[in-house]
């Protein structure tokens, strides 16, 4: 397929301006869901259109883009979104967290700590953290307005009453800047602590639900918990079978018919950077000519 004749980063400039205004408002009110005029993108709703629109609104020719899905640069959806921006912007792309200025992600935060000046764009399927408890937006909007979060705390309490611990493992609700409860997108709760006081700007785009929200750099992000049942992250008994890491999020891979399993890092860049012998071509930043 040849590159279509489209504007830089696909969206027209007026649309980008509308999205940037929503982003500015979101940054000004950390954790607050700003409604925006989400457009139909050439990729399906639910597949990252919110993140794509945010990225398209903020990306510039000097940016170096990294796209990950489930921690990996090589899953088909990550490849597809990266190709979309290669075709429509010609910016350089990378798989290395440290080299990227702009990282669009679905369901993970890289293991390598982010730094100032980096921008994380999260794809968000369901921006409303209370949607499964109260599906009516008119109601949840009021609850946010009044900072009335009893519903969420009761849900967590009921988990404890039933199971002895909080049974939420991903999209674990957080309190941002001491004010708004926010869905961190379906990242594993393992990643939640990385959001707290992060030096990077974190933007969240929900295309189908038409909401944008943000966590500015150095903002408190507190995972909900109770004094006697504090928030805790997942731990593994195993180490990564490829790089030996014990501090990263591990995916289980089934290796034979008998159900044998091994654990590997979900963050493919982190894993490869810890295996110097393997590191070759696929690591390099690839400047793409304008398509």
């Amino acid at each position: 397929m040849s590159a279509p004749q489209v504007n830089f980063a696909y969206l027209d400039e007026r649309t980008k301006r509308m999205i940037r205004r929503a982003i500015l408002k979101a940054v000004a009110i950390p954790g607050y869901q700003v409604p925006f005029g989400s457009r139909e993108m050439p990729l399906p709703y639910g597949w990252g259109t919110g993140g794509i629109q945010v990225t398209a609104a903020v990306i510039g020719p000097q940016d170096v883009l990294k796209v990950i899905d489930q921690g990996s640069d090589d899953t088909v959806n990550a490849v597809n979104i990266r190709r979309f921006f290669e075709r429509t912007t010609g910016v350089a792309t990378t798989t290395r967290t440290t080299e990227a200025t702009l990282i669009q992600t679905r369901h993970r935060i890289p293991e390598t700590p982010l730094r100032e000046g980096q921008l994380m764009v999260y794809q968000v399927p369901v921006p409303e953290p209370m949607q499964r408890l109260e599906p009516r937006e008119t109601e949840t909007r009021t609850l946010h307005g009044l900072a009335e979060y009893g519903l969420m705390h009761v849900k967590l309490y009921e988990d404890i009453a039933r199971y002895g611990h909080i049974a939420t493992t991903y999209d674990y609700p957080v309190l941002v800047n001491g004010r708004y409860i926010m869905a961190p997108s379906p990242i594993p709760k393992f990643d939640n602590p990385k959001m707290h006081m992060s030096p990077a700007l974190q933007l969240f785009g929900a295309g189908r639900e038409k909401r944008i929200y943000a966590v500015p750099p150095y903002t408190t992000v507190e995972s909900l918990g109770f004094e006697d049942h504090p928030f805790e992250v997942q731990r593994w008994d195993a180490a990564c079978a490829l790089c030996g890491a014990t501090d990263s999020f591990l995916d289980e891979v089934i290796t034979d018919d008998a159900g044998s399993r091994l654990h590997v890092c979900s963050d493919s860049d982190y894993c490869q950077s810890r295996q110097p012998a393997v590191a070759t071509v696929e690591h390099e930043t690839t400047p793409k000519e304008l398509a």
Binding site: N80, P186, I187, K210, Q234, S266
Partner: protein, 366 residues
């Protein structure tokens, strides 16, 4: 060894090729042209234009061809195309009383000014497969065109006739005639006013609206509906450029309009009267227009002081789930990898099972 996540780009490019082959089918047969689709699959084209929110039969036909006949996919293609088109201006409201009617039926009056015009419809075909179409027979000569001619001139609408007696609610233009919001430019917020709801329904998935409308006929918010009128025909699209000061026609649209007339028992402030549900679609899309008008009426429950008890009356339920792009995208996103989320759940379920009482142990028979 562990290689599953590599090679995504090659796989995607290969899938494009396989898809193109699947779409083309047997190369011994001539390729379907966009013009053929436009002319001979008109009802598909009309649905794609309606839900795609673009009146362009050629592009709709192209989308159908590209989508290999998957209409929801074709609607997606058209929507993505229109998303970044500039807005050049706003038209004047369509005057459907001045439609050139190809079909016009009323279920409420046996005869009425302008008459009943059956026009093209599957309604009274006997649904037997026509095996002569299998034979690809040469076209029979046109016989209808001489006999049939679109009705010209203004034909009053049934609701206007009812209005002369004061039996049906009127919807006066609000003061200042404010411009409706544009759902394609601004997000849907609740509660949504009627103009916004109608926009949403007009773009809504026909199957979804049909099921919602059907539910109102089966006890989930019954509204005693009658088809006041369905009309199909060409209507002039007019703009009034500021520098001109008068309206000029920029072309004709084929549309289907449905006015549903519903009973209303009255309220403290309103005497008993008929109320209205409205449906409008591009091209010939009667099922869509009728379903839309029933759902529109159901969604007016709150405004008319009726109890909101059934799904079809609930704004958030209907309007948030009517869009095929949103629904199809989110349902199908489950195909995307969820390794990380699933891993988190695996760990949780193992932990819960470890803590749960062993099966076979005394007590809980489960």
């Amino acid at each position: 060894m562990y290689v599953a996540v590599k090679g995504g780009e090659t796989a995607i490019l290969n899938s494009y090729r396989l898809l193109a082959e699947q779409r083309r089918g047997d190369r011994a047969l001539p390729e379907l042209s966009v013009a053929q689709i436009r002319q001979q699959l008109k009802l598909s084209v009309d649905r794609v234009m309606t839900e795609g929110s673009v009146y362009d039969p050629e592009l709709a036909a192209l989308a159908i061809k590209q989508a290999a006949g998957d209409l929801v996919e074709a609607i997606f293609l058209l929507r993505a195309y229109r998303a970044t088109l500039p807005r050049l201006g706003s038209t004047l409201p369509l005057d459907t009383a001045r439609m050139a009617l190809e079909r016009r039926i009323s279920a409420t009056f046996k005869d009425l000014p302008g008459g009943q015009v059956l026009g093209p419809t599957y309604d009274y075909t006997q649904r037997l497969l026509d095996f002569t179409l299998l034979a690809n027979s040469p076209d029979s000569p046109r016989s209808v065109s001489a006999a049939f001619k679109a009705e010209e001139g203004a034909v009053p609408r049934v609701v206007d006739l009812l209005n002369q007696e004061g039996l049906i609610e009127t919807r006066p233009v609000p003061p200042g005639d404010p411009a409706p919001m544009d759902l394609t430019r601004a997000p849907l917020r609740f509660p949504a006013d009627r103009a916004t709801r109608l926009q949403n329904l007009a773009r809504g998935d026909e199957g979804f609206l049909l099921a919602m409308a059907y539910s109102t006929q089966r006890g989930y918010s019954h509204s005693h509906p009658f088809v006041g009128e369905i009309r199909l025909g060409q209507v002039a699209l007019e703009i009034e450029p500021e520098e001109l000061g008068f309206a000029i026609s920029i072309g004709d649209l084929e549309i289907t309009e449905c006015e549903m007339v519903n009973q209303f028992a009255g309220s403290k402030t309103e005497p008993p009267q008929f109320t209205r549900g409205y449906g409008l679609a591009f091209g010939h899309s009667e099922r869509k227009a009728m379903a839309m008008s029933l759902v529109d009426r159901a969604l007016r429950a709150e405004e008319l002081g009726e109890p909101v008890e059934s799904p079809a009356q609930m704004q958030e339920f209907v309007l948030s789930h009517s869009d095929s792009l949103e629904a199809s995208g989110f349902v199908q996103h489950l195909k995307l990898p969820h390794y990380v989320d699933f891993q988190s759940e695996l760990e949780l379920v193992r932990r819960l099972r470890a803590a749960a009482p062993q099966p076979g142990a005394e007590g809980d028979p489960a």
